[in-house]
Symmetry: C2
Subunit: 211 residues, 2 copies
DNA sequence: GTGCTGAATATTTCGCGAAAAATTCACTAT
DNA sequence: ATAGTGAATTTTTCGCGAAATATTCAGCAC
Protein backbone atom coordinates (compact mmCIF):
# COMPACT_ATOMS: atom_id res chain seq x y z
CA UNK A 1 0.00 0.00 0.00
CA UNK A 2 2.92 2.38 -0.56
CA UNK A 3 3.57 5.03 -3.16
CA UNK A 4 4.83 3.74 -6.56
CA UNK A 5 1.98 5.19 -8.57
CA UNK A 6 3.90 5.75 -11.77
CA UNK A 7 4.12 3.14 -14.52
CA UNK A 8 7.88 3.49 -14.56
CA UNK A 9 9.95 3.84 -11.44
CA UNK A 10 12.70 6.41 -11.08
CA UNK A 11 12.98 10.17 -10.68
CA UNK A 12 9.84 12.01 -9.75
CA UNK A 13 10.17 15.26 -11.62
CA UNK A 14 13.56 16.24 -12.94
CA UNK A 15 13.85 12.98 -14.84
CA UNK A 16 11.13 13.62 -17.37
CA UNK A 17 13.65 14.95 -19.84
CA UNK A 18 15.77 11.84 -19.51
CA UNK A 19 12.75 9.57 -19.82
CA UNK A 20 11.73 11.29 -23.02
CA UNK A 21 15.28 11.09 -24.34
CA UNK A 22 15.29 7.33 -23.79
CA UNK A 23 11.89 7.05 -25.41
CA UNK A 24 12.89 8.92 -28.56
CA UNK A 25 16.19 7.13 -28.98
CA UNK A 26 14.46 3.78 -28.52
CA UNK A 27 11.79 4.63 -31.07
CA UNK A 28 14.46 5.47 -33.65
CA UNK A 29 16.34 2.26 -32.95
CA UNK A 30 13.22 0.07 -32.97
CA UNK A 31 12.15 1.66 -36.22
CA UNK A 32 15.49 0.92 -37.87
CA UNK A 33 16.47 -2.42 -36.39
CA UNK A 34 13.34 -3.79 -34.77
CA UNK A 35 12.58 -4.42 -31.12
CA UNK A 36 14.31 -7.79 -30.99
CA UNK A 37 17.52 -6.66 -32.63
CA UNK A 38 17.88 -3.56 -30.48
CA UNK A 39 19.68 -4.24 -27.21
CA UNK A 40 19.52 -2.28 -24.00
CA UNK A 41 23.23 -1.63 -24.60
CA UNK A 42 22.32 -0.04 -27.94
CA UNK A 43 19.84 2.27 -26.25
CA UNK A 44 22.38 3.11 -23.55
CA UNK A 45 25.03 3.94 -26.14
CA UNK A 46 22.64 6.07 -28.18
CA UNK A 47 21.62 8.08 -25.13
CA UNK A 48 25.17 8.21 -23.74
CA UNK A 49 24.27 6.63 -20.44
CA UNK A 50 24.88 3.32 -18.73
CA UNK A 51 22.57 0.33 -19.25
CA UNK A 52 21.78 0.32 -15.54
CA UNK A 53 20.49 3.84 -15.68
CA UNK A 54 17.78 2.92 -18.17
CA UNK A 55 16.13 0.93 -15.41
CA UNK A 56 15.71 4.04 -13.30
CA UNK A 57 13.24 5.26 -15.93
CA UNK A 58 11.65 2.08 -17.26
CA UNK A 59 11.03 -1.15 -15.42
CA UNK A 60 12.37 -3.23 -18.28
CA UNK A 61 12.69 -3.44 -22.04
CA UNK A 62 9.05 -4.33 -22.51
CA UNK A 63 8.07 -1.16 -20.67
CA UNK A 64 10.14 0.85 -23.13
CA UNK A 65 8.45 -0.99 -25.97
CA UNK A 66 5.06 -0.20 -24.48
CA UNK A 67 5.92 3.47 -24.11
CA UNK A 68 7.07 3.59 -27.72
CA UNK A 69 3.88 1.91 -28.88
CA UNK A 70 1.77 4.34 -26.88
CA UNK A 71 3.61 7.27 -28.40
CA UNK A 72 3.15 5.66 -31.81
CA UNK A 73 -0.59 5.30 -31.19
CA UNK A 74 -0.80 8.95 -30.12
CA UNK A 75 0.93 9.92 -33.37
CA UNK A 76 -1.51 7.82 -35.40
CA UNK A 77 -4.39 9.45 -33.61
CA UNK A 78 -3.04 12.91 -34.46
CA UNK A 79 -2.69 11.83 -38.05
CA UNK A 80 -6.25 10.53 -38.13
CA UNK A 81 -7.51 13.68 -36.48
CA UNK A 82 -6.03 15.98 -39.12
CA UNK A 83 -8.77 14.94 -41.49
CA UNK A 84 -11.27 16.20 -38.93
CA UNK A 85 -9.67 19.64 -38.49
CA UNK A 86 -11.32 21.19 -41.50
CA UNK A 87 -14.95 21.81 -40.69
CA UNK A 88 -16.44 20.78 -44.05
CA UNK A 89 -18.45 17.72 -44.95
CA UNK A 90 -21.54 16.06 -43.59
CA UNK A 91 -21.18 13.93 -40.48
CA UNK A 92 -21.56 10.81 -42.61
CA UNK A 93 -18.84 11.96 -44.97
CA UNK A 94 -16.59 12.83 -42.04
CA UNK A 95 -17.03 9.40 -40.47
CA UNK A 96 -16.34 7.75 -43.78
CA UNK A 97 -13.17 9.76 -44.21
CA UNK A 98 -12.11 9.15 -40.62
CA UNK A 99 -12.27 5.40 -41.09
CA UNK A 100 -10.82 5.40 -44.58
CA UNK A 101 -7.97 7.65 -43.57
CA UNK A 102 -7.28 5.61 -40.48
CA UNK A 103 -7.15 2.34 -42.35
CA UNK A 104 -5.18 3.99 -45.14
CA UNK A 105 -2.72 5.32 -42.58
CA UNK A 106 -2.29 1.85 -41.12
CA UNK A 107 -1.61 0.40 -44.56
CA UNK A 108 0.94 3.11 -45.26
CA UNK A 109 2.66 2.39 -41.98
CA UNK A 110 2.72 -1.33 -42.72
CA UNK A 111 4.62 -0.60 -45.92
CA UNK A 112 6.75 2.24 -44.66
CA UNK A 113 7.31 1.42 -41.02
CA UNK A 114 6.88 -2.31 -40.64
CA UNK A 115 9.11 -2.55 -37.57
CA UNK A 116 6.88 -0.32 -35.48
CA UNK A 117 3.70 -2.04 -36.64
CA UNK A 118 5.27 -5.34 -35.71
CA UNK A 119 6.28 -3.91 -32.34
CA UNK A 120 2.74 -2.75 -31.69
CA UNK A 121 1.43 -6.22 -32.51
CA UNK A 122 3.99 -7.78 -30.22
CA UNK A 123 3.42 -5.46 -27.29
CA UNK A 124 -0.36 -5.62 -27.56
CA UNK A 125 -0.27 -9.42 -27.58
CA UNK A 126 0.46 -9.77 -23.87
CA UNK A 127 -1.75 -8.72 -20.98
CA UNK A 128 0.50 -5.81 -20.02
CA UNK A 129 0.07 -4.25 -23.43
CA UNK A 130 -3.57 -4.85 -24.29
CA UNK A 131 -4.64 -1.78 -22.38
CA UNK A 132 -2.53 0.37 -24.71
CA UNK A 133 -4.45 -1.09 -27.62
CA UNK A 134 -7.71 -0.72 -25.74
CA UNK A 135 -7.01 3.00 -25.24
CA UNK A 136 -6.24 3.39 -28.90
CA UNK A 137 -9.47 1.66 -29.84
CA UNK A 138 -11.37 3.85 -27.42
CA UNK A 139 -9.88 6.93 -29.01
CA UNK A 140 -11.37 5.86 -32.35
CA UNK A 141 -14.68 5.07 -30.73
CA UNK A 142 -14.85 8.51 -29.15
CA UNK A 143 -13.76 10.27 -32.34
CA UNK A 144 -16.58 8.57 -34.19
CA UNK A 145 -19.02 9.16 -31.35
CA UNK A 146 -18.41 12.91 -31.57
CA UNK A 147 -19.27 12.90 -35.25
CA UNK A 148 -22.33 10.79 -34.62
CA UNK A 149 -23.46 13.34 -32.06
CA UNK A 150 -23.06 16.06 -34.66
CA UNK A 151 -25.02 13.97 -37.10
CA UNK A 152 -27.88 13.49 -34.68
CA UNK A 153 -27.97 17.20 -33.91
CA UNK A 154 -27.97 18.00 -37.61
CA UNK A 155 -30.86 15.62 -38.14
CA UNK A 156 -28.83 13.43 -40.49
CA UNK A 157 -28.86 10.48 -38.12
CA UNK A 158 -31.73 8.94 -36.22
CA UNK A 159 -31.69 9.34 -32.43
CA UNK A 160 -29.27 6.89 -30.80
CA UNK A 161 -26.50 6.61 -28.25
CA UNK A 162 -23.40 8.10 -29.91
CA UNK A 163 -20.99 6.21 -27.66
CA UNK A 164 -22.60 2.90 -28.46
CA UNK A 165 -22.60 3.66 -32.16
CA UNK A 166 -18.91 4.58 -31.93
CA UNK A 167 -18.19 1.21 -30.39
CA UNK A 168 -20.35 -0.49 -32.99
CA UNK A 169 -18.65 1.12 -35.98
CA UNK A 170 -15.22 0.26 -34.66
CA UNK A 171 -16.32 -3.32 -33.95
CA UNK A 172 -17.73 -3.68 -37.46
CA UNK A 173 -14.44 -2.52 -38.99
CA UNK A 174 -12.19 -4.25 -36.46
CA UNK A 175 -10.59 -6.59 -39.00
CA UNK A 176 -9.45 -3.54 -40.98
CA UNK A 177 -7.52 -2.26 -37.95
CA UNK A 178 -5.62 -5.50 -37.49
CA UNK A 179 -2.36 -5.68 -39.40
CA UNK A 180 -2.46 -9.47 -39.46
CA UNK A 181 -5.88 -9.46 -41.06
CA UNK A 182 -5.24 -6.46 -43.27
CA UNK A 183 -2.45 -8.30 -45.05
CA UNK A 184 -5.06 -10.67 -46.47
CA UNK A 185 -7.79 -8.09 -47.02
CA UNK A 186 -5.87 -5.71 -49.28
CA UNK A 187 -6.57 -6.49 -52.87
CA UNK A 188 -6.22 -5.19 -56.39
CA UNK A 189 -3.24 -3.24 -57.69
CA UNK A 190 -3.90 -0.20 -55.53
CA UNK A 191 -4.08 -2.47 -52.48
CA UNK A 192 -7.32 -0.94 -51.25
CA UNK A 193 -9.00 -2.96 -48.52
CA UNK A 194 -11.77 -5.09 -49.96
CA UNK A 195 -15.38 -4.27 -49.06
CA UNK A 196 -14.47 -1.47 -46.64
CA UNK A 197 -16.47 1.16 -48.50
CA UNK A 198 -19.49 -1.10 -48.71
CA UNK A 199 -19.30 -1.89 -45.01
CA UNK A 200 -19.16 1.79 -44.12
CA UNK A 201 -21.99 2.61 -46.49
CA UNK A 202 -24.28 -0.02 -45.02
CA UNK A 203 -23.50 1.03 -41.46
CA UNK A 204 -24.15 4.68 -42.24
CA UNK A 205 -27.34 3.72 -44.00
CA UNK A 206 -28.43 2.03 -40.80
CA UNK A 207 -27.76 5.24 -38.97
CA UNK A 208 -29.58 7.53 -41.39
CA UNK A 209 -32.68 9.42 -40.31
CA UNK A 210 -34.95 8.71 -43.29
CA UNK A 211 -36.94 11.90 -42.75
CA UNK B 1 1.63 -30.31 -69.99
CA UNK B 2 0.51 -33.76 -68.86
CA UNK B 3 -2.49 -34.97 -66.87
CA UNK B 4 -2.21 -34.56 -63.08
CA UNK B 5 -5.44 -32.69 -62.64
CA UNK B 6 -6.27 -33.95 -59.18
CA UNK B 7 -5.14 -32.15 -56.03
CA UNK B 8 -3.68 -35.36 -54.72
CA UNK B 9 -1.88 -37.84 -56.91
CA UNK B 10 -2.55 -41.57 -56.75
CA UNK B 11 -5.35 -43.87 -57.72
CA UNK B 12 -8.01 -42.58 -60.03
CA UNK B 13 -11.11 -44.35 -58.84
CA UNK B 14 -10.69 -47.40 -56.66
CA UNK B 15 -8.58 -45.48 -54.18
CA UNK B 16 -11.29 -43.15 -52.94
CA UNK B 17 -12.03 -45.44 -50.03
CA UNK B 18 -8.39 -45.48 -48.99
CA UNK B 19 -8.12 -41.70 -49.32
CA UNK B 20 -11.14 -41.27 -47.09
CA UNK B 21 -9.75 -43.73 -44.60
CA UNK B 22 -6.53 -41.74 -44.35
CA UNK B 23 -8.51 -38.54 -44.00
CA UNK B 24 -10.66 -39.81 -41.15
CA UNK B 25 -7.78 -41.38 -39.24
CA UNK B 26 -5.78 -38.17 -39.62
CA UNK B 27 -8.64 -36.02 -38.39
CA UNK B 28 -8.93 -38.15 -35.26
CA UNK B 29 -5.22 -37.99 -34.61
CA UNK B 30 -4.96 -34.25 -35.27
CA UNK B 31 -7.91 -33.64 -32.97
CA UNK B 32 -6.28 -35.61 -30.14
CA UNK B 33 -2.62 -34.80 -30.49
CA UNK B 34 -2.42 -31.81 -32.80
CA UNK B 35 -0.98 -31.56 -36.30
CA UNK B 36 2.59 -31.06 -35.15
CA UNK B 37 2.65 -33.96 -32.75
CA UNK B 38 1.09 -36.39 -35.20
CA UNK B 39 3.64 -38.10 -37.44
CA UNK B 40 3.15 -39.70 -40.81
CA UNK B 41 4.19 -42.92 -39.07
CA UNK B 42 1.28 -42.44 -36.64
CA UNK B 43 -1.15 -42.09 -39.49
CA UNK B 44 0.33 -45.10 -41.24
CA UNK B 45 0.02 -47.21 -38.10
CA UNK B 46 -3.57 -46.09 -37.52
CA UNK B 47 -4.57 -46.99 -41.07
CA UNK B 48 -2.50 -50.18 -41.09
CA UNK B 49 -0.49 -49.19 -44.12
CA UNK B 50 3.08 -48.15 -44.79
CA UNK B 51 4.20 -44.52 -44.57
CA UNK B 52 5.16 -44.56 -48.20
CA UNK B 53 1.67 -45.49 -49.27
CA UNK B 54 0.22 -42.33 -47.75
CA UNK B 55 2.02 -40.41 -50.46
CA UNK B 56 0.09 -42.20 -53.15
CA UNK B 57 -3.03 -40.42 -51.87
CA UNK B 58 -1.74 -37.09 -50.60
CA UNK B 59 1.23 -35.11 -51.86
CA UNK B 60 2.53 -34.49 -48.36
CA UNK B 61 1.51 -33.92 -44.76
CA UNK B 62 0.31 -30.37 -45.45
CA UNK B 63 -2.06 -31.73 -48.09
CA UNK B 64 -3.57 -34.08 -45.49
CA UNK B 65 -3.92 -31.14 -43.13
CA UNK B 66 -5.65 -29.15 -45.85
CA UNK B 67 -8.05 -31.97 -46.60
CA UNK B 68 -8.87 -32.28 -42.90
CA UNK B 69 -9.47 -28.55 -42.65
CA UNK B 70 -11.72 -28.60 -45.68
CA UNK B 71 -13.75 -31.43 -44.21
CA UNK B 72 -13.89 -29.53 -40.94
CA UNK B 73 -15.16 -26.44 -42.75
CA UNK B 74 -17.83 -28.50 -44.50
CA UNK B 75 -18.93 -29.83 -41.10
CA UNK B 76 -19.10 -26.30 -39.69
CA UNK B 77 -21.18 -25.23 -42.65
CA UNK B 78 -23.63 -28.09 -42.07
CA UNK B 79 -23.84 -27.09 -38.44
CA UNK B 80 -24.52 -23.47 -39.36
CA UNK B 81 -27.09 -24.53 -41.91
CA UNK B 82 -29.15 -26.52 -39.42
CA UNK B 83 -30.46 -23.24 -38.00
CA UNK B 84 -31.78 -22.44 -41.46
CA UNK B 85 -33.63 -25.72 -41.97
CA UNK B 86 -36.71 -24.69 -40.09
CA UNK B 87 -38.64 -22.23 -42.21
CA UNK B 88 -39.71 -19.83 -39.45
CA UNK B 89 -38.53 -16.31 -38.74
CA UNK B 90 -38.22 -13.14 -40.77
CA UNK B 91 -35.22 -12.85 -43.08
CA UNK B 92 -33.62 -10.40 -40.65
CA UNK B 93 -34.06 -12.79 -37.76
CA UNK B 94 -32.70 -15.65 -39.83
CA UNK B 95 -29.60 -13.67 -40.78
CA UNK B 96 -29.09 -12.68 -37.17
CA UNK B 97 -29.36 -16.28 -36.06
CA UNK B 98 -27.10 -17.48 -38.85
CA UNK B 99 -24.32 -15.17 -37.77
CA UNK B 100 -24.84 -15.66 -34.05
CA UNK B 101 -24.95 -19.42 -34.41
CA UNK B 102 -21.90 -19.42 -36.63
CA UNK B 103 -19.84 -17.34 -34.24
CA UNK B 104 -21.21 -19.33 -31.30
CA UNK B 105 -20.22 -22.54 -33.05
CA UNK B 106 -16.71 -21.21 -33.57
CA UNK B 107 -16.42 -20.30 -29.90
CA UNK B 108 -17.63 -23.74 -28.88
CA UNK B 109 -15.08 -25.34 -31.16
CA UNK B 110 -12.31 -23.18 -29.74
CA UNK B 111 -13.12 -24.51 -26.28
CA UNK B 112 -13.94 -28.04 -27.26
CA UNK B 113 -11.73 -28.72 -30.22
CA UNK B 114 -8.79 -26.35 -30.01
CA UNK B 115 -6.45 -28.59 -31.99
CA UNK B 116 -8.57 -28.45 -35.13
CA UNK B 117 -9.13 -24.71 -34.82
CA UNK B 118 -5.38 -24.29 -34.48
CA UNK B 119 -4.86 -26.54 -37.49
CA UNK B 120 -7.27 -24.47 -39.56
CA UNK B 121 -5.39 -21.31 -38.60
CA UNK B 122 -2.11 -22.92 -39.49
CA UNK B 123 -3.21 -24.35 -42.82
CA UNK B 124 -4.97 -21.15 -43.90
CA UNK B 125 -1.89 -19.09 -43.10
CA UNK B 126 0.04 -20.17 -46.16
CA UNK B 127 -0.82 -19.53 -49.81
CA UNK B 128 -1.74 -23.17 -50.45
CA UNK B 129 -4.41 -23.05 -47.79
CA UNK B 130 -5.99 -19.63 -48.16
CA UNK B 131 -8.30 -20.85 -50.88
CA UNK B 132 -9.83 -23.32 -48.42
CA UNK B 133 -10.61 -20.41 -46.14
CA UNK B 134 -11.80 -18.36 -49.08
CA UNK B 135 -14.28 -21.09 -50.00
CA UNK B 136 -15.53 -21.24 -46.45
CA UNK B 137 -16.01 -17.48 -46.39
CA UNK B 138 -17.83 -17.64 -49.70
CA UNK B 139 -20.17 -20.26 -48.30
CA UNK B 140 -21.19 -17.83 -45.55
CA UNK B 141 -21.55 -15.02 -48.06
CA UNK B 142 -23.86 -17.13 -50.20
CA UNK B 143 -25.87 -18.37 -47.24
CA UNK B 144 -26.49 -14.78 -46.21
CA UNK B 145 -27.13 -13.69 -49.78
CA UNK B 146 -29.94 -16.23 -50.08
CA UNK B 147 -31.63 -14.84 -47.00
CA UNK B 148 -31.15 -11.31 -48.25
CA UNK B 149 -32.84 -12.29 -51.48
CA UNK B 150 -35.78 -13.63 -49.49
CA UNK B 151 -35.88 -10.41 -47.52
CA UNK B 152 -36.01 -8.30 -50.65
CA UNK B 153 -38.78 -10.44 -52.11
CA UNK B 154 -40.71 -10.20 -48.86
CA UNK B 155 -40.36 -6.42 -48.92
CA UNK B 156 -38.44 -6.39 -45.65
CA UNK B 157 -35.23 -5.18 -47.27
CA UNK B 158 -34.71 -2.37 -49.72
CA UNK B 159 -33.68 -3.36 -53.26
CA UNK B 160 -29.98 -4.24 -53.44
CA UNK B 161 -27.55 -6.82 -54.76
CA UNK B 162 -27.86 -9.82 -52.43
CA UNK B 163 -24.40 -11.13 -53.28
CA UNK B 164 -22.78 -7.84 -52.48
CA UNK B 165 -24.69 -7.57 -49.23
CA UNK B 166 -23.60 -11.10 -48.33
CA UNK B 167 -19.99 -10.11 -48.85
CA UNK B 168 -20.55 -6.91 -46.89
CA UNK B 169 -22.10 -8.62 -43.87
CA UNK B 170 -19.31 -11.15 -43.71
CA UNK B 171 -16.71 -8.40 -44.05
CA UNK B 172 -18.31 -6.40 -41.26
CA UNK B 173 -18.21 -9.40 -38.95
CA UNK B 174 -14.87 -10.72 -40.12
CA UNK B 175 -13.12 -10.22 -36.79
CA UNK B 176 -15.71 -12.46 -35.18
CA UNK B 177 -14.78 -15.30 -37.53
CA UNK B 178 -11.08 -15.09 -36.67
CA UNK B 179 -10.06 -17.27 -33.74
CA UNK B 180 -7.08 -15.06 -32.98
CA UNK B 181 -9.27 -12.00 -32.72
CA UNK B 182 -12.16 -13.77 -31.05
CA UNK B 183 -9.98 -14.64 -28.07
CA UNK B 184 -9.79 -10.94 -27.26
CA UNK B 185 -13.38 -10.10 -28.18
CA UNK B 186 -15.17 -12.53 -25.90
CA UNK B 187 -16.14 -10.83 -22.72
CA UNK B 188 -18.28 -11.18 -19.63
CA UNK B 189 -18.88 -14.38 -17.74
CA UNK B 190 -20.89 -15.99 -20.53
CA UNK B 191 -18.08 -15.22 -22.97
CA UNK B 192 -20.42 -13.66 -25.51
CA UNK B 193 -18.61 -11.70 -28.21
CA UNK B 194 -18.72 -8.00 -27.45
CA UNK B 195 -20.79 -5.74 -29.70
CA UNK B 196 -21.76 -8.48 -32.14
CA UNK B 197 -25.49 -7.97 -31.63
CA UNK B 198 -25.17 -4.23 -32.06
CA UNK B 199 -23.15 -4.67 -35.24
CA UNK B 200 -25.73 -7.01 -36.71
CA UNK B 201 -28.58 -4.71 -35.68
CA UNK B 202 -27.01 -1.70 -37.32
CA UNK B 203 -26.24 -3.59 -40.53
CA UNK B 204 -29.78 -4.96 -40.74
CA UNK B 205 -31.15 -1.50 -40.04
CA UNK B 206 -29.15 -0.30 -43.04
CA UNK B 207 -30.80 -2.98 -45.09
CA UNK B 208 -34.36 -2.33 -43.95
CA UNK B 209 -36.99 -1.11 -46.39
CA UNK B 210 -38.53 1.74 -44.34
CA UNK B 211 -41.84 1.47 -46.15
C1' DG C 1 18.92 11.55 -1.01
C1' DT C 2 19.40 11.83 -6.36
C1' DG C 3 21.44 10.49 -10.60
C1' DC C 4 24.34 7.59 -12.38
C1' DT C 5 27.98 3.77 -13.33
C1' DG C 6 29.79 -0.72 -14.56
C1' DA C 7 30.64 -5.15 -13.00
C1' DA C 8 27.93 -9.32 -11.28
C1' DT C 9 24.11 -12.23 -12.03
C1' DA C 10 20.07 -14.17 -14.33
C1' DT C 11 17.77 -15.10 -18.71
C1' DT C 12 17.45 -15.75 -23.37
C1' DT C 13 19.19 -16.75 -27.72
C1' DC C 14 22.28 -19.24 -30.85
C1' DG C 15 25.01 -22.70 -33.10
C1' DC C 16 25.52 -27.22 -34.03
C1' DG C 17 25.64 -32.26 -33.75
C1' DA C 18 22.20 -35.95 -32.70
C1' DA C 19 17.70 -37.69 -33.14
C1' DA C 20 13.25 -37.68 -35.21
C1' DA C 21 10.39 -37.00 -38.81
C1' DA C 22 9.11 -36.24 -43.75
C1' DT C 23 9.68 -37.71 -48.21
C1' DT C 24 11.47 -40.57 -51.97
C1' DC C 25 12.30 -44.66 -54.37
C1' DA C 26 13.58 -49.27 -55.81
C1' DC C 27 11.13 -53.07 -55.31
C1' DT C 28 7.16 -56.92 -54.40
C1' DA C 29 2.56 -58.73 -55.14
C1' DT C 30 -1.54 -59.06 -57.66
C1' DA D 1 -0.76 -51.22 -64.68
C1' DT D 2 -2.32 -50.70 -59.62
C1' DA D 3 -1.70 -50.99 -54.65
C1' DG D 4 1.50 -51.28 -51.48
C1' DT D 5 6.07 -51.91 -48.81
C1' DG D 6 10.07 -50.55 -46.11
C1' DA D 7 14.62 -49.06 -46.26
C1' DA D 8 17.41 -44.97 -47.97
C1' DT D 9 17.61 -40.12 -48.17
C1' DT D 10 16.48 -35.41 -47.13
C1' DT D 11 14.60 -32.11 -43.99
C1' DT D 12 13.24 -30.57 -39.58
C1' DT D 13 13.34 -30.60 -34.79
C1' DC D 14 15.71 -31.11 -30.36
C1' DG D 15 19.00 -30.87 -26.68
C1' DC D 16 22.53 -28.52 -24.73
C1' DG D 17 26.74 -25.83 -23.92
C1' DA D 18 28.45 -21.21 -25.36
C1' DA D 19 27.59 -16.58 -26.21
C1' DA D 20 24.68 -12.66 -26.03
C1' DT D 21 21.53 -10.07 -23.68
C1' DA D 22 18.55 -8.40 -19.87
C1' DT D 23 18.42 -7.17 -15.29
C1' DT D 24 20.26 -6.28 -10.68
C1' DC D 25 23.07 -4.22 -7.37
C1' DA D 26 26.94 -2.39 -4.64
C1' DG D 27 28.95 1.64 -4.84
C1' DC D 28 30.59 6.53 -6.62
C1' DA D 29 29.80 11.68 -7.34
C1' DC D 30 27.20 15.52 -6.02
Amino acid sequence: MSAEVRESNGPAEGGERTRLEILEASMQLFQHFGFGKTTMADIARETAMSPGNLYRYYRNKQAIGRAVVERYFRMSESQMATGLMLPGGSPAERIRELIRNGVGHLMTEMDHNPRLVELADFICADPEGVQSLQQHIEWKERAIAREVERGIDAGDFRPCDPDEVGRTLVAATRAYWMPMALVHIRCGEDGRPAMLDQVIDLLLEGLAAHR
